[in-house]
């Protein structure tokens, strides 16, 4: 065997250009594949370090067919919990943000109110102290309470311990104000623990049994552990039965409200699962192109060695030995290519790590590095490639007719099987690259659209931050609104700040959708219509530079005691009053809540996109209520400047601290960045598809050229004959193009059809894509046709440079 390896090595060194090209193609192809499969594995399939990981299920509400995380009514949760048979554990949590304050300095973190049983499902171990026990919660909360907290303990993450407590070993037992209430730190979690998604502070809660069926209360997410032997589908089916019962009992609130069960990773990936499938498909296509290319190179090499193989066979070498010897060559090349591929993949993972943080809202426990598992995958990919690219050519070459090869082993004519194989390979390359390029092109345009989407306003120069008002000092709307107005005034006084405002959400940021009841309008569906609902300061539209098209903006006359008012978007007005003005009409949220007030429409604003800028979501309507009449605990503040907005980050944070030092600002981002983060996964996919597209084109061009060049060269004698009989150059070019037309047409037909299928499948789910299909497909078909024509004519040109006499004698 050593002799065979040595011989294979010697042969590879003898042909450095072949070896070099093959290794480069493999390194790029394998690098990209390892990179992609590592990401896919980490995002979608990796075993997390959680006990009973495979049985852990996350349950969320589905409203109007849209998955709505954290939106199960506390009442519905309780209803299901009392009845369910599929789960060992069935517990609730509420993702929120929590402010830690030592009385002087406050800092806000992502956090969760979580039932001790739910917390224990994630299996976290403490670095210091202990985790929650049932007795940490003194009293269960009910749906209508203003705050669900009846606990005085808190657990913090390793990161908070590091940042806020400077890794103090005496942290356990210390008190800290969490959202203004004194809590005792009982535990510090191990580094990296950030469940359910990316939380750093946890407060235990308990949801009481027999919750109210009222609306507008607390919504929860559910973490549950399947009983052994119960599948996810069976459990989902059981929960759907309860959803149906709830819909029948409470049609106004629960029509079109169901639940969706999925694994933890599925939940976090959300729509991004489609991206994972898309990337998997595209990566497989790239791999297929690489394998076709390298396989073709290896085949050409194997065929060139047919005489050597015949001599070996004549001397008594068994076929298995010949195959083995040829396979060593492929293995050596693949392992060298794979080695560089792994380096490339590791480098790629390193530089693209920031992009992953935007995936599915960010799963902070993912670590994008090549560990043993990923290296195992890499090894498998390399070995699989070596086998596919090496075995077939080795078998084919070892199957030659010894007699005829030895007698006339140097005939230049292309054999029928070789010609057929060339045609199949070229068609395959065209088909693969065509489908991939169409998808890549359409994705790049779609992503570009998403990045540059017009949300209805210009976000340039706007810096936003979030704040949470503690419930003791800011219980009521009047107090909350007052704080906001003081903050706005203080900010506007600062140099460099042109304007400032506050709102519960800015465009592009998903806000809650509320059920809306319209006065004197019969409900056509069983359920109430829903609309995005925002509380805003009076200068919100002026700040955004968005006109109020009809009626008026909010002003100082809109107070807590005045007529409850609302501004609706044009999309809302047109939907419900297509032929008349909506001004003066009355609507209310929380239709079943008897305390809910009718609000009079005083203005119609330009439509703004409050969610994703593609699919149906971009057309969803919105309604706006003044902060002076309803103010939430958690709001955003925004400033506008002509400068780079981040230059004013400190001013913004410091000014807020001056207004009230117990209300820290957090999540400070420019509005442009917020919008970009919204499509962050798309940006990543767009970048990947640029690489895919370019690589597909290079691989296809190189592959088609390689095959056509070999095919044309093998036909040199034939062309010599044709020319001897009077064919001029044009006749030969025409012949080649005519013969190539079958390959081209069959390749691009299948490729374009597959591209169309993929684009249609993705359009609307991820992006608005179908509009680009025709334009991209035409460009791709043109590019591939031109590539094919060039790949056919360039080698023909080379062959036709020979005198017919030399062509006839070509060997």
């Amino acid at each position: 065997m050593f002799r065979d390896i040595k011989y294979a090595w010697r042969l590879l060194l003898k042909t450095p250009s072949f070896t070099g090209i093959t290794i480069v193609v493999l390194a790029i192809g394998l690098g990209l594949s390892i990179y992609m499969f590592s990401i896919i594995n980490m995002l979608a399939y990796k075993q997390l370090d959680i006990p009973h990981y495979e049985r852990l299920v996350m349950i969320d509400a589905v409203v109007d067919g849209m998955e709505n995380q954290g939106n199960v009514y506390a009442h519905d949760y309780d209803y299901m919990k009392q009845r369910q048979q599929s789960f060992e554990e069935f517990s609730a949590y509420i993702r929120t943000s929590l402010s830690l304050s030592n009385g002087k300095e406050a800092q806000r973190y992502d956090g969760a109110y979580i039932e001790p049983t739910a917390f224990s499902l994630f299996g976290g171990k403490t670095h210091l102290g202990r985790t929650f026990i049932d007795s940490d919660v003194k009293k269960a909360f009910i749906d209508t309470e203003r705050s669900p907290v009846h606990s005085e303990v808190v657990i913090i993450s390793y990161q908070v311990w590091q940042e806020y407590y400077n890794k103090s070993p005496e942290v356990i037992g210390k008190t800290v104000q969490v959202n203004g209430k004194v809590h005792t730190v009982i535990g510090v979690m191990n580094e990296g623990f950030a469940y359910p998604r990316k939380e750093s502070v946890w407060i235990p809660i308990k949801v009481a049994a027999n919750q109210n069926s009222g609306q507008g209360g607390w919504h929860v997410s559910i973490a549950a552990l399947l009983k052994p032997g119960i599948s996810l589908a069976m459990a989902q089916q059981e929960l759907m039965t309860y959803s149906k019962e709830l819909t029948e009992k409470y049609p106004e609130s629960n029509t079109n409200v169901t639940v969706h069960s999925r694994t933890l990773v599925q939940m976090v990936m959300d729509n991004s699962m489609m991206i994972v499938y898309l990337l998997t498909g595209a990566t497989i296509f790239i791999m297929a192109l690489v394998i076709t290319n390298v396989g073709n190179l290896m085949l050409a090499r194997a065929m060139e060695r047919s005489k050597e193989v015949a001599i070996r066979s004549a001397l008594g070498a068994p076929r298995s030995r010949i195959i083995r010897q040829m396979l060593f060559e492929t293995l050596i090349i693949c392992f060298i290519g794979g080695f560089f591929g792994i380096i490339l993949a590791g480098w790629g993972l390193d530089i693209s790590r920031p992009l992953f943080e935007t995936f599915g809202g960010g799963g902070s426990w993912w670590t994008f590095t090549l560990d043993a598992e990923e290296l195992g995958i890499a090894g498998f990919i390399i070995f699989f490639t070596a086998l596919l690219t090496g075995l077939f050519p080795a078998i084919k070459a070892s199957n030659t007719d010894i007699n005829s090869t030895l007698r006339d082993g140097t005939r230049g004519a292309q054999s029928k099987s070789s010609a057929k194989l060339s045609k199949v390979l070229v068609s395959a390359e065209i088909f693969l690259s065509c489908a991939l390029l169409i998808l890549a092109g359409v994705m790049i345009f779609g992503v570009n659209d998403a990045i540059n989407a017009d949300y209805g306003f210009k976000p340039k120069g706007m810096l936003t931050a979030r704040f949470g008002l503690n419930t003791d000092d800011y219980k009521m709307t009047v107090e909350r609104n007052l704080y906001q107005q003081r903050l706005i005034q203080a900010l506007i006084r600062e140099p460099g700040i042109e304007n400032a405002t506050t709102a519960s959400a800015f465009p592009g940021r998903s806000s809650g959708r509320e059920s809306i009841k319209i006065e004197d309008m019969a409900n056509q569906d069983k359920q109430y219509p829903r609309s995005y609902f925002m509380t805003i300061s009076k200068n919100y539209f002026e700040f955004l530079g968005v006109p109020v098209l009809e009626g008026r903006a909010f002003n100082d006359s809109d107070t807590i005691d005045s007529l409850p008012v609302v501004i609706v978007s044009t999309s809302f007005a047109k939907k419900f009053w297509p032929n008349t003005s909506s001004i003066g009409k009355r609507i209310k949220t929380e239709p079943n809540n008897p305390d809910s007030e009718w609000r009079t429409i005083v203005g119609v604003s330009k439509h703004l996109i409050h969610s994703q800028p593609f699919g149906d979501e971009q057309f969803r309507s919105a309604i706006y209520v003044p902060n002076s009449q309803l103010a939430y605990q958690y709001q955003y503040v925004a400033i506008k400047t002509a400068l780079n907005p981040y230059q004013l980050q400190k001013t913004l944070v410091d000014t807020a601290a001056k207004v009230d030092s117990s209300i820290p600002l957090y999540h400070v981002f420019s509005l442009s960045d917020r919008l970009e983060r919204r499509v962050g996964a798309m940006v990543f996919v767009g970048k990947i598809f640029i690489v895919f597209g370019a690589l597909a084109l290079i691989l296809a061009a190189a592959g088609i050229y390689g095959i056509m060049s070999r095919s044309v060269t093998q036909r040199t004698q034939e062309f010599g004959v044709r020319r001897a009989l009077g064919a001029i150059d044009r006749d030969i070019y025409q012949l080649l193009l005519k013969q190539g037309l079958t390959m081209l047409v069959s390749g691009i037909s299948v490729g374009a059809a597959l591209g169309y299928f993929a684009v249609n499948m993705l359009s609307g789910v991820l992006l608005t894509l179908s509009g680009y299909y025709l334009m991209v497909t035409t460009t791709v078909l043109l590019t591939i046709s031109l590539t094919f024509i060039a790949a056919t004519l360039i080698p023909a040109f080379r062959v036709l440079k020979l005198e017919p006499n030399s062509a006839l004698r070509y060997e």
Binding site: G726, D729, D731, L808
Partner: protein
């Protein structure tokens, strides 16, 4: 006398690895209409090179080549191709039929490169040519389904189809057994008797002597030019 080919002071040199090799030197040769010329000589004497020049498959390094009264020494590739198509019929040692084309299509091939023939004329010519070599009944067969002798007869039919001024045969019996070789030679003699002008390269003395004129080459020069028609008679 009606000369078809006139070579005046023709040289042909090849440059291989910066070494210049003189393949043909000062060739003076005239071939008249209706002649059956054999070109013979030892291996490497330049006979195949000479045939390539005669067939416009290669260019001369020096000298003048007149074909049918026209100077063809300095033509472009495509002009030479057109003349080959109309004036010259090739018969190769290894037949050089195209394996993907059937017998009919192989014979039809040179005619498809011309624009002056109708489909009916092409069909008539192909059928006539195949009839001449007695291969009409095999017109749907592919080369791989024929014996060597049959393949060479198809190749001769292909050479005849364009009604060329001259047939150039390069070792036409070189790949055949004696029986098939004789059959091909008989066919060439029959064509000659019907008026065809033939120039044949061969190292087979018997074949060379059966022509009406024998030209011997040695080291790229004509060393003998013998009229054999009297002997043959």
């Amino acid at each position: 006398m009606n000369s078809i080919i006139e070579l005046k002071n023709i040289d042909k040199t090849f440059l291989t690895d910066e070494v210049e090799t003189l393949a043909l030197s000062s060739i003076e040769l005239t071939i008249n209409k209706g002649e059956f010329v054999s070109i013979t000589g030892p291996s490497g004497c330049g006979k195949s090179t000479l045939l390539s020049l005669l067939g416009l498959l290669d260019t001369t390094s020096q000298g003048q080549f007149v074909l049918n009264g026209n100077d063809v020494s300095n033509l472009t590739k495509n002009e030479r191709a057109k003349i080959r198509n109309k004036e010259i019929g090739f018969i190769f040692q290894s037949f050089n039929l195209i394996s993907d084309l059937d017998v009919y299509e192989n014979v039809e091939l040179p005619l498809t490169y011309r624009n002056d023939l109708t489909a009916d004329e092409i069909k008539t010519r192909v059928n006539d040519s195949l009839a001449k070599v007695d291969m009409g009944h095999r017109n749907k067969h592919f080369p791989s389904q024929l014996s060597g002798g049959q393949q060479q007869r198809v190749a001769i039919a292909r050479a005849l189809a364009g009604s060329p001024s001259i047939l150039l045969a390069d070792e036409p019996t070189g790949n055949l057994d004696s029986k098939n070789a004789q059959m091909v030679m008989d066919l060439l003699h029959d064509l000659h008797k019907e008026g065809a002008t033939i120039c044949m390269v061969t190292h087979d003395q018997h074949c060379a002597d059966s022509a009406s004129r024998r030209i011997s080459l040695f080291d790229g020069r004509v060393v003998e030019d013998t009229n054999l028609s009297n002997q043959a008679a």
